[in-house]
């Protein structure tokens, strides 16, 4: 548990953080969000004493951080910085293993752990462990940054815009991965972002800051449904109904899907289903290859790319909606890791969810 009580930070005349109090429960993700310069990074850095508070108290599991040795404290807290900061002269494996090296864990064990983490963040160890940072894409580097923070298995994670340098599409992939990891690992996370969708999707609670002060600290749904004042309303924007879809993972809205093997597709005949129903076509390894569409001469197969149309159970309903609109179809397939269809999300369900808020 991380607890801030009346924490203030001055830089000379500037008050970067102004009497802030909040608490992050164990195993929860708390997202700090707000306009640039509102004090998010400063707040985060005071937790691991990269900065010391001017006044007030920060405690971790009841112990005041200012009474702990900074180096020891930091080794027990995973830290993902805004600009990644991989060590350019070390390969990926050594980068991930560095905290354990500081803790004098022996090499074999460190390397085993590094491979484990590469698996965990979805990068093939064979392919990546000996690469150097300059050979990585921005998104890969950020994932390695997250893996490095996780390596020593710290109970607490501080993440400063960890997906900031990634394009929107890959950012959604990384967010999904983060949710999957967080389900398994149950860390206590303080997460900074600029992106409201990200905050809503990842946070158990969201703290909206302005000029160093907390404006509203609430669940994502409450922030959207009950903005405390005009600032929050403006920040959330007019499309908060749409944003609210980010709160819900697809997994609660999966419907059974109709699917058919590729070789049987030619002989398909409509079994009297309504106009909403889509028939997915799978190939040899049961992976999605396309969908059936009615044409003048019966049905034909339209080829689809699974990664372009599909979502996974941890994707948000907003993502599902954008896939629906992007592809112009009435349902999106929900895929497992091997791209097999495990169900679908249908437009009426999204509409219903959307209406609930208005």
């Amino acid at each position: 548990m991380i607890e801030f009580s009346c924490v203030t930070k001055h830089y000379g005349d500037i008050t970067a953080v102004d009497s802030v109090s909040f608490r992050v429960e164990d195993g929860q993700v708390c997202v700090l969000i707000g306009p640039s310069g509102c004090g998010k990074t400063t707040t985060l850095k005071m937790v691991n004493r990269m900065l010391d508070a001017s006044s007030g108290e920060i405690s971790i599991n009841g112990r005041n951080v200012s009474e702990l040795a900074a180096e020891q404290l930091r080794r027990g807290i995973g830290y993902v910085i805004q600009s990644v900061g991989l060590l350019p002269h070390m390969n990926v494996r050594d980068n991930i293993a560095i905290v354990q090296r500081l803790k004098r864990v022996d090499r074999r064990q460190r390397y085993r752990r590094a491979d484990e983490l590469l698996e965990l963040i979805g990068l093939d160890p064979e392919q990546y462990r000996l690469k150097h940072p300059h050979e990585l894409s921005g998104g890969e580097a950020q994932r390695i940054g997250v893996a490095r923070a996780l390596a020593a298995d710290p109970p607490i994670l501080l993440m400063d815009e960890p997906f900031g340098a990634v394009d929107p599409l890959n950012r959604e992939v990384l967010q999904t991965e983060f949710l999957r990891l967080q389900r398994a690992l149950k860390k206590t996370v303080l997460f900074v972002t600029h992106d409201l969708d990200e905050a809503i999707r990842l946070g158990d609670t969201v703290i909206l800051m302005k000029d160093g002060q907390i404006v509203q600290h609430d669940s994502p749904e409450r922030i959207l449904a009950a903005p405390r004042n005009q600032f929050v309303r403006d920040f959330v924007g007019a499309d908060r109904a749409l944003k609210r879809l980010s709160c819900f993972p697809v997994e609660g809205y999966i419907r059974e899907a109709q699917q058919i093997a590729q070789q049987d597709a030619a002989s398909f005949s409509n079994g009297g289903r309504g106009p909403d129903s889509v028939v997915w076509v799978y190939g040899a390894d049961r992976a999605l290859v396309g969908m059936l569409q009615r044409s003048s001469s019966g049905y034909k197969v339209i080829t689809l790319k699974p990664e372009e149309v599909g979502v996974v159970p941890l994707s948000s309903m907003k993502e599902a909606l954008s896939r629906l609109l992007g592809q112009g179809i009435r349902a999106v397939p929900v895929l497992d890791q091997r791209n097999c269809v495990i169900g679908e999300v249908r437009l009426p369900d999204i509409e219903e969810l959307n209406q609930a808020v208005l």
Partner: protein, 370 residues
């Protein structure tokens, strides 16, 4: 064709130029001509790995043949009848040698061969020349004669030269690296530090050596202790000080640069994961900056080898002694005898440092060095 070698009946006499075919040699000039023709043909035959390999071979052969012709010329021209006679390579020889170097180096530069093989090819002509020297086949050469007459003195001055340069560079490292670090850590000191080392660099070396004389002579007179340590207006002390001052700039500059190019994010990440000050130095700062500092030292050493030549003027010794003796006695061969080892030393040390830098550069950074 240009005259190839010259013959002098004695040390200071004017030389008689001899052409390649005027030496009374039989097949050797034809061999050389054939190799030159082959080189010309190759120059016209485009690019490609095979052409490149052929160029390296022909270039190396050109050097060997040039040396061979010069050797044979020496054997023919210097006989019992002319005990003080000596031959010297002149324009034709030098042009052939230079052409050989350009052909080999030009092809090696673009070749993607194993660095070991490349190194071996570069060292080969040096090895051949050294072999020829050791076997006594070059004894009739003027430079070599100058050397034989002073063999003891030569090795003594060579040692002095190396020692002066090495001590000066070491002192410059001891002073320069901390100075670079201070300039980086304390922004206020950055300007004064760089103004100082830059200004030193702009003083002509001769003037700087001269400048050392007066204050040191004064100090020596004032403090008997210093005098007892050998500090005087002339000799090793002023030379070392001047050489050290010269060697500072590249070291200070590269130290400063090496620290300034470490990304802030990397330092922050190091601190953020709980590195102590020492661990940050060991895991982050040193691996990233040492290669750059070393390349500053590389520049300094090469410069120091050259600058040490001038140290002979204030009585510090070194290979410059021969150069200035040669100037004084109007004996060009003596000058050349002093200059060639200086050049060779500089080149060898430069290559050696390059290899060392390659070794200490972590693989993740290697793409843009060397």
């Amino acid at each position: 064709m240009l005259p190839f070698v010259e013959f002098k009946p004695n040390r200071v006499a004017e030389g008689d130029p001899f052409h390649l075919w005027g030496l009374g040699l039989t097949w050797e000039p034809w061999l050389l001509a054939a190799i030159v023709a082959a080189a010309l043909l190759l120059a016209l035959s485009g690019e490609g790995p095979r052409v490149r390999a052929a160029k390296v071979a022909v270039g190396s052969a050109l050097f060997a043949a040039t040396l061979l012709v010069a050797l044979r010329a020496g054997a023919i021209l210097v006989t019992e009848a002319t005990p003080f006679g000596r031959v010297g390579p002149i324009s034709g020889f030098w042009i052939a040698a230079l052409a050989s170097f350009l052909i080999v180096e030009g092809s090696l530069r673009t070749a993607s061969w194993n660095p070991m093989i490349k190194g071996a090819i570069r060292v080969l002509p040096l090895a051949i020349a050294t072999g020829a020297l050791a076997s006594g086949a070059l004894d009739s050469f003027a430079m070599v004669q100058e050397y034989i007459n002073r063999a003891d003195r030569f090795s003594q001055e060579l040692t002095t030269h190396l020692r002066l340069a090495a001590v000066a560079v070491m002192a410059a490292v001891v002073i320069g690296v901390p100075l670079g670090i201070v300039a980086w850590k304390r922004r206020l000191l950055e300007r004064p530090v760089f103004t100082l080392v830059n200004t030193i660099q702009t003083v002509p070396s001769l003037a700087l050596f001269g400048l050392m004389i007066a204050p040191l002579a004064l100090l020596s007179r004032q403090f008997p202790l210093l005098r007892a340590m050998g500090v005087q207006g002339i000799g090793a002390a002023p030379a070392l000080i001047a050489l050290t001052l010269y060697a500072l700039l590249p070291i200070v500059r590269n130290t400063y640069t090496s620290l300034s190019v470490i990304p802030n994010a990397v330092i922050e990440a190091g601190n953020g994961m709980g590195m102590s000050r020492r661990q940050l130095l060991r895991f982050v700062e040193a691996p990233l900056s040492v290669p750059i500092i070393l390349s500053g030292i590389r520049t300094s050493v090469v410069q120091a080898i050259g600058n040490t030549t001038v140290a002979a003027l204030i009585g510090a010794g070194g290979l410059g002694v021969f150069v200035f003796q040669g100037l004084g006695q109007a004996a060009p061969d003596l000058i050349v005898m002093g200059v060639i080892p200086i050049i060779l030393l500089a080149v060898l040390i430069d290559r050696g440092m390059a290899v060392l830098i390659g070794l200490v550069t972590p693989p993740g950074l290697r793409k843009d060095t060397l």
